[in-house]
């Protein structure tokens, strides 16, 4: 799906420094037409900085970024004409009505006059804001605002959409609805680059890039990331108060990695079938009886926690 002449976004060795702080550290990837690419990572990982560089809002310190085939440092205005952007912070005008905001962005993006009303109609229907056209934006609830912002970002039919944590602070119902919209756009051929720190949302993407401390530490379909990145099998160990035994489990034979998940421990082992009974016996031998261990399918969260931990250890940084 990725790469080749059809790629809408090509990022190659991108670096962004703020003084001595490296916010983006040699990131490379590309996004195909109609692909929904997710940026997953903790706050401060450099997701927003990357998106801002691709929108031409920040200049990269090194590396190259082509958006719609145009170098973002050479002709940022040509890039801006072809993209839609939703910033992390809501940035429509609160004292203007829904319609006034859309007219404004239609004008600024130069949507042809004879198409404008039709595009606005489309955006309002898509955002489910019919009947609220004359409401001031300040009076709208969070999910509605978010959909309106998306509507404003696609008024000019951009080929590429950048959405920076579009669903943060929005209720689950609205989040689902928002993702449906993103998939509709993807199906129409719009490339969508969306950042999130909700791990479950990564499952909705065609491909996911895991980003932490400015580095891209893994890239693949959610399925690939869950399976192959781990390179091992996963056991869920359950017992009351088992979280306190994390250090003990770490030292058990055949265990690569352990993390706390709710009230259980998730242990990464070389072979689930043999290690599950061995671990139960090992715990009992250390005075923790009655624990259960069963093989589970790794989730995105398992994969993410493992990969971030591995990347951190590889760099010798404190966790």
């Amino acid at each position: 799906m990725a790469g080749g002449a059809g790629a809408q976004i090509i990022v190659d060795g991108l670096v962004k420094r703020f003084g001595s702080f490296v916010a983006v550290d040699g990131v490379s990837f590309d996004v195909a037409r109609g692909e929904i690419m997710g940026f997953l990572g903790p706050n401060g990982a450099g997701k927003s900085t990357l998106i801002r560089i691709l929108c031409g809002l920040l200049r990269p310190s090194a590396g190259r970024a082509l958006v719609a085939g145009i170098d973002v440092t050479e002709d940022p205005d040509a890039v801006r004409q072809r993209i839609g952007y939703m910033s992390q912070k809501f940035s429509l005008y609160n004292t203007l009505s829904v319609l006034e905001n859309l007219r404004f962005f239609g004008g600024v993006y130069g949507v042809p006059r004879d198409r404008l009303e039709e595009r606005i109609r489309f955006a309002i229907d898509m955002a489910g804001l019919a009947g609220r056209e004359t409401s001031l934006v300040a009076t709208l609830a969070g999910g509605w605002k978010q959909r309106l912002a998306l509507g404003a970002a696609i008024l000019h039919r951009p080929a590429i959409l950048f959405l920076d944590e579009p669903t943060s602070g929005v209720d689950p119902e609205s989040r689902r609805r928002f993702w449906d919209l993103i998939h509709t756009l993807g199906a129409e051929g719009v490339s969508v680059l969306v950042s999130t720190h909700y791990i479950d949302e990564a499952e909705y993407c065609n491909r996911v890039a895991l980003i932490t401390r400015g580095r891209l530490i893994a890239l693949g379909t959610p399925f690939e990331l869950r399976r192959r990145s781990l390179g091992a099998e996963l056991l869920s160990i359950e017992r009351e108060g088992i979280a306190n035994a994390i250090e003990l489990v770490e030292k058990a034979p055949g265990v690569h990695d352990v993390a706390v998940f709710g009230s259980a421990l998730h242990a990464l082992v070389d072979d689930a079938a043999t290690r599950a009974p061995a671990l139960v016996a090992y715990l009992a031998g250390h005075g923790i009886a009655g624990a259960t261990a069963r093989r589970i399918e790794p989730t995105m969260e398992d994969s993410f926690v493992h990969l971030v931990g591995a990347a951190t250890r590889a760099r010798g940084d404190p966790p």
Binding site: R52, P76, S87, S91, T95, G107, V108
Partner: protein, 378 residues
């Protein structure tokens, strides 16, 4: 440049202004308030100087002299003191600026020796007022002595030469009654325009940064020049409305004679408005906080216009070095133009130099403001 985008921004900005009571208030009420406050507050004519008298003689002549003080429009009698202590107190607490003391034996001296002395105690804190008070007091007293001489000569049956050998026939042009208000008010119009103009635009870019709307705006294809024009247009309209209010108040409320043409007035006012709007815009771009930008804009416009525009303090009385600096103050040209248009009825030809200077200033600031905005978050 696309007019479509300029229009979109101008419409959006106008809607925001209309829905933001604070900016509307700055736009319309502040100039009114300032015109009244400054128009009445700043008055360089000294009349009705508070006067205190202490008559130690209470003779017909001493009372006659004091009557003349009371009758003068330059003095207002505040108090008749009974001793020196009371007099001193009145000057100390500023209830009077000048005190006239007539000594005991005043009329006797006049009758016997033909000469008398009157004491004037003047509060010199404000040297200008003190000077003027002393001069007015001298004038009242010399009028009194002149009449005394006349009476004395007439009593002796003599004739009086009524012609003064050399007389000045002074005729004042342009401000016939030497009303300081007539030349201060046009200056105040310039001052109010400078303050309000820069205030209007000082918030416009900073507000978008503060509210986070700028991030989206710079991600659109809008060009810096389009953004500036779109943002300045609505404020230009408001600024011209403010100018109309101020100028109408000057003519119809403060009765300043208007002898020029409306065309000259409107043309030069637009030029000055462009200058101050661009100052505010430039500050707003440079300082991304509304409070900071508003304060800097106030400082940049109010101080130079008050001190260095010549609106109240004559430029030719300043040290040469300071005079040089005044050429950098846009208000200087507009104040010159306004005073001449109002009082002298000067037209574009007579005012070619200051108009040209103001126009150059406007062009320079438009360029500066347009180049200041960078579409980046760096």
């Amino acid at each position: 440049m696309k007019l479509r985008r300029v229009k979109a921004i101008a419409v959006k900005e106008s809607l925001q202004i209309v829905r933001d009571p604070r900016s509307l208030m700055i736009a319309l009420l502040i100039p009114l308030m300032q015109m009244f406050m400054l128009g009445y507050g700043i008055n360089l004519d000294i009349k009705h100087i508070p006067l205190c008298t202490y008559d130690r003689e209470m003779s017909q002549q001493s009372l006659g002299l004091l009557k003349r003080f009371e009758a003068s429009r330059y003095f207002t009698l505040r108090k008749t003191a009974q001793d020196y202590a009371e007099l001193t107190r009145d000057i100390d607490d500023s209830s009077c600026t000048i005190a006239i003391v007539i000594p005991a034996g005043f009329s006797q001296g006049l009758n016997d020796a033909g000469t008398g002395t009157v004491q004037a105690l003047i509060d010199g804190t404000d040297s200008n007022t003190a000077n003027i008070a002393a001069n007015y007091a001298r004038a009242v007293i010399s009028g009194f002595s002149g009449d005394l001489q006349l009476q004395a000569i007439q009593r002796r049956g003599g004739t009086v030469q009524t012609l003064t050998p050399v007389d000045v026939q002074a005729r004042v042009w342009f401000n016939e009654n030497l009303e300081s208000r007539n030349y201060i008010i046009p200056g105040i119009v310039a001052l109010v325009m400078a303050i309000v103009g820069a205030q209007l635009t000082s918030l416009t870019i900073a507000r978008e940064w503060e509210r986070g709307t700028m991030e989206l705006l710079v991600s659109t294809p809008v060009k810096p020049l389009e953004l500036m024009l779109g943002k300045l247009l609505p404020y230009f309209a408001i600024g011209m409305l403010d100018a109309a209010i101020c100028l109408a108040l000057a003519v119809f409320w403060f009765d300043v004679p208007f002898r020029g043409t409306l065309a000259t007035l409107l043309f030069t006012t637009s030029l000055f408005l462009i200058v101050v709007l661009c100052i505010g815009y430039y500050v707003s771009v440079s300082i991304r906080s509304q409070v900071g930008a508003s304060q800097v804009a106030l400082l940049l416009t109010m101080l130079p216009t008050i001190l260095l525009s010549g609106f109240a303090f004559p430029i030719d009385q300043m040290p040469v070095f300071v005079q040089g600096i005044t050429y950098l103050v846009s208000g200087r040209y507009y104040v010159t133009i306004l005073k001449s248009v109002f009082l002298k009825g000067a037209g574009a030809v007579e005012l070619a130099v200051p108009i040209l200077c103001l126009a150059l200033y406007a062009v320079a600031l438009v360029v500066l403001a347009a180049r200041s905005f960078r579409k980046t978050l760096d």
